[in-house]
Amino acid sequence: MMVRTEELEVGYGRRSVVRDVNLELSRGQFIGLLGPNGCGKSTILKTLIRLLAPLRGAVFLDGRELERISRKELSRRVSAVLTEQPSPGLLTAFDVAAMGRYPYTGRLGRIEGEHIRKTWEALKMVGAADLAGRYFHELSDGEKQKVLLARALAQEPELVVLDEPTSHLDPRYRLEVMLILRRLVREKGLTIIASLHEIDLAMKACDTVVLIKGGRIIACGPPEEILKEETAAELYDFRRARFSSLLGGVELGEESGGSIFIVAGSGSGARLYRALTKHGFGISTGILPENDVDFHIAQALRIDIVAEKPYNGISEEACLRALQEVRRASQVVDAGFPVGEANCRNVELIREALRMGKVTYSLRKEEEGEGLWGPLAPRLVYCEGLSSLLRRLREVECLRREG
């Protein structure tokens, strides 16, 4: 066991932020702290690196109480990347990374020989070696973060503590930083404790997640076990948005009854669902087997689904339900799903819609539509892409509202 806390209470001065922190975190793991802003993630991390003294209880590093370890020893074993981005004046990225050698250098902190080599290694490890000669203040946020990470590695720690390493980074750097961290755990056997904001990243990168809310730890364990829809919703008080553990992502859902029915499947619906919910259309969809990717996305988006058990094709009963939805809908969309034996009833469904005289859009090519629906095919409104579909839907919706 690497880090253990016992009845730890953390906070500032007399103000307690998180109580009853009892954690046992083992070596060689990526541990993520999750929770809403202000829940105390940073406070816990600052206590772990001894920037804050515990209000009660204690932190143990390999069985020794943190307060009993000298600053020097601690700095050789634990390094940190903090939230505040330093502005060190005219220091190059190399100088900043070399600062990690502080616990090892002599009285004047001369960087020579082995220190140069180790600093360079650390820079290379995070892919920042080409930045070495540039001034730190000239780098982008993402590059700065990488250099700060290199600095933490140059300290040759066993444990790296990172306070929100991915906030204010663009998606590319966010992923890059997470990949680097993951690799450090796997290849170097480092232990990493980081506070994170993205449940999806935590889900995918962490070995252990710790959920913090309302001044307490509400759960701790492997993300696959404890990051369920309900826990995420509880953690962040999601109402509209939903976390899907299967997709490992958060969807911004709107609760709405459908006036547009989308016939989809095999991922053809995903983009449509997101775009239409984002623009506030009420939608429903079908007929989807429960193992279809469209099913999970639609569920996360809280879209009404006509669903079917997987692997059995589409039953009569589901078809009837879908027909009812089509009847209720003002417009129907064919998402351009791939057609096969299991879902040929979806093709039938569109035929019915056309017979009923519903305005039906299709994202297929005209020739393909002809092949599927023969003489009825010209009744379809073919759209070249998502944007033209959206425009048409909006026009009709406006007319409907006025008339």
């Binding site: 600053r71 634990v78 390094s79 004046g89 005219l90 100088d95 502080y102 902190g109």
Partner: protein, 354 residues
């Protein structure tokens, strides 16, 4: 595999070496400027003494003899040395505090050290009259200033033990400064016109009338203090990343805090006691040195700032002394007037962040 690795190793060596070469060059230029300023200061004035005679007069057999000898030995040399030493002290003090507070507009006076000195001098100059003192010995003024500086230093040290973050320390220093200037204003309101004039001139700083006795004090203390602060380079550099990072890499912040306060107070207090507050040097010279060297690394920057401080202060004093001769303008006027545009130009040219 071996060849690219070697190329890489060579490349990184080159990067570090080229930088070192640049530093050496810039430091050598600073040193040249400091020596030149010292020589000009001794040579120029109401009596012009050619460079060729300087060596003979200072180091030759005839040292100190004749009119030139007297001018140089009794007036110009002590003054020039005092200006150089004070300049070093102020620049080093300013740099230490800029680093410590991670704030570029901080000067050596922000801790309120000079304000304390000023209050005591105000008491001596302005209050002394009402207490029945007719004339005030310059040594008494220095003593008063020193006591004021030390008094404030004690207060700041006591505060430093209590506050957690450094910014509070900065604000408290500023507040002490306000209180001190309020007391001075109060004293000015009740003082005689002539005394006020004297006091105002003192607050503008001057190197005139330096005697060897005083120079010896500066010459003993300032190099020692600058040398000591050079040995703080390592934690000073760590502080560039901010106090929290410094803690996590093992800097003993409390102890470091005391050391910085003690050293800068001593540097600034000493200079202020003998010359009055000399504006601008402590604020601007660190920037000039930083921008010319292109680094904030204290191991290079601290010696650089100290040497450049000597050069710049020497030249400014020369200007103050000779520009409108026989009237001498306050040295603070020349330092600000000629120093500020230089800093602005350097900043614009390099688009550098401080």
């Amino acid at each position: 595999m071996r060849v690219p690795q070697m190329a890489e190793a060579v490349e990184r060596e080159i990067f570090l070496r080229r930088r070192w070469a640049r530093w050496q060059f810039v430091l050598a230029s600073f040193l040249g400027a400091a020596v030149l300023s010292l020589m000009l200061n001794v040579s120029l004035g109401s009596v012009h003494i050619p460079f060729s005679d300087l060596w003979k007069i200072i180091f030759g057999k005839e040292a100190g003899r004749g009119i030139f000898g007297a001018v140089i030995w009794n007036i110009r040399l002590p003054r020039a040395l005092a200006a150089s030493l004070s300049g070093s002290a102020l620049a080093a003090g300013g740099l230490l505090l800029q680093n410590f507070f991670r704030n570029p507009i901080v000067g050596p006076y922000v801790l309120g050290i000079s304000s304390g000195a000023t209050v005591m001098v105000a008491l001596a100059l302005l209050g002394g009259y009402s207490l029945g003192m007719t004339s005030i010995h310059p040594a008494f003024l220095s003593l008063a200033a020193l006591i004021g500086a030390l008094g404030v230093m004690m207060v700041i040290l006591a505060v430093a033990a209590k506050v957690r973050d450094i910014v509070s320390l900065l604000v408290i220093g500023l507040m002490v400064g306000y209180i001190a200037s309020a007391i001075s204003s109060f004293l000015i309101a009740f003082a005689e016109k002539e005394e006020v004039h004297k006091f105002v001139l003192w607050t503008l700083g001057s190197f005139s009338g330096f005697r060897w006795k005083e120079v010896r004090v500066l010459a003993a203390a300032i190099p020692l203090l600058v040398f000591l602060s050079f040995f703080l380079s390592k934690p000073l550099n760590a502080f560039l990343l901010g106090e929290d990072y410094a803690r996590t890499i093992g800097v003993r912040v409390k102890a470091f805090r005391y050391l910085i306060i003690l050293i800068t107070s001593a540097l600034v207090g000493l200079v202020t006691a003998f010359t009055g507050p000399v504006a601008f040097i402590g604020l601007a010279v660190p920037h000039m040195a930083r921008l010319s060297l292109g680094t904030s690394d204290s191991r290079v920057l601290l010696p650089g700032a100290a040497i450049l401080g000597a050069a710049v202060t020497g030249l400014c004093d020369l200007l103050a002394r000779t520009a409108f001769s026989p009237v001498e303008i306050p040295v603070s006027a020349t330092t600000s007037l000629f120093g500020a545009p230089i800093v602005i130009a350097l900043l614009l040219r390099r688009r550098a962040a401080i």
